[in-house]
Amino acid sequence: MNLYRYASPATFYPLAGRLVPWFALLAAAFTAAGLYISFFVAPTDFQQGEGYRIIFIHVPAAWMSMFIYIVMAFWSAIGLAWNTRLSFVMARALAPTGAMFTFLALWTGALWGKPMWGAWWVWDARLTSELILLFLYVGYMALQAAIDDPRRADRAGALLNLVGVINVPIIYFSVKWWNTLHQGASVSLTRAPSMAQTMLWGMLVMAIAAWMYTIAVALARARTLILERERQTEWARAVIKEEA
């Protein structure tokens, strides 16, 4: 079977349509299992009490927020190099989910920080760079929203995405050094006590759930983007008529 066949919107659209329910189902199943582990199986932390359980959402969200940006850059690079329309659609479809996970990571981090550090927000290197990552997502989406011509929006967004991905490590290290210069090690996330096995499992299962959710949502969003862009083609008209 030739996988490249699915680089065409007309063949990808029905494939994505078949895949979305499966990934949605997997996402629901893994979320249920992950939440069960995190609330009922994982033991109470002897230092942090019950409050630590928010990491089961926080850590997968933070992983996804970074990972999605890299995947977007990957699709952007492919799209710029080979001029494949679908790659840009994928990058664009992933962006809102990435921004959502970044926001979620910041939000849950604040909720965790209040009882643990006594502050909603500290200018820790990780928090600050996560905040800047959110800005990068917002900039990408704002640029996409401001350009009406999809061809231009795709390319402009892809270029911005690539510049951003080069910058992410530079931003991370600059913030890290800035942080150590200014406030010393008042708060350290890396000193976390070694985790119980079940806690790690809960986190991994939740991370897989986040993956499945991302795939399902991105595919669904890609489908609507494809229909919107291909609306003048024969097959898209047929699909729209059929589904209407």
């Binding site: 800047i132 900039g139 401001a146 270029l159 690539l162 510049v163 600059s174 210069l181």
Partner: protein, 222 residues
């Protein structure tokens, strides 16, 4: 090749010299923003000395953004940008020339004003010298990266606000190393490390930014 580059730079400087009002706006903006901080925070010298480097640097970023909106917009409107892109030279050269011209027009005046503003914040002489040096290395990066944003947002509605959203996150390392160098001098830990990193960022920006700006210009103009 060099002649094309100098021609691009000369042309922009000449245009700026003919329209002095446009050009001075950003410089006065820089002065006003920094002067507002003591009014908002209070005139206590110790406090002002601590925030001084950061305030001057943030104001420099904003002043730079203010003038970036017009980097390509005027040429785009009168059609000369398309002619320049059609020239038989690499478009990256055009982007580099534009960025250099932007730095000469907007960056160098900032360097000259910055010591005066630093004195307002009670910075000692050695910190002032480092402030100017850090701005001298850092502001070209602002012009180069900003050129990418200007090219991407060319001719879009609300381009001025959009460019800040796109570019400010990318300016974070420059701000940190630039203000950090001055802070380091004030704290007695030295500025060399920060200035070297700033220099590294500059080298990287010179190598990468003109090409990406050129690609972005082609996307925006086609």
């Amino acid at each position: 090749m060099l002649r094309f580059l100098t021609a691009v730079i000369r042309r922009d400087i000449l245009l700026a010299a003919r329209r002095r009002g446009d050009w001075l706006t950003a410089q006065f903006f820089f002065v006003m923003v920094t002067s507002l901080f003591p009014l908002g925070i209070g005139p206590e010298p110790a406090m002002l000395r601590t925030i001084g480097p950061g305030v001057v640097w943030v104001a420099a970023l904003l002043a730079c953004l203010l003038s970036l909106g017009r980097l390509y917009a005027d040429d785009h409107r009168d059609g000369s940008l398309e002619q320049l892109l059609l020239a038989p030279y690499s478009n990256a050269l055009l982007a580099l020339g534009k960025a250099i011209a932007h730095w000469i027009i907007n960056g160098i005046p900032l360097l000259l004003i910055a010591p005066v503003l630093g004195i307002q914040f009670g910075l000692p002489a050695d910190a002032l010298a480092v402030l100017v040096l850090s701005l001298a290395i850092g502001t070209p990066v602002l012009s180069l990266l900003g050129g990418i944003g200007a090219a991407l947002t060319l001719g879009l509605r609300g381009g001025g606000v959009l460019i800040t959203l796109l570019i400010l996150p990318l300016y974070v390392p420059v701000l940190i190393f630039g203000a950090g160098a001055v802070d380091g001098t004030l704290a007695g830990t030295g500025a060399e490390a920060h200035l070297s990193l700033l220099g590294a960022v500059l080298v990287m920006a010179v190598l990468v930014a003109p090409w990406i700006s050129a690609l972005a210009l082609r996307v925006s103009v086609e």
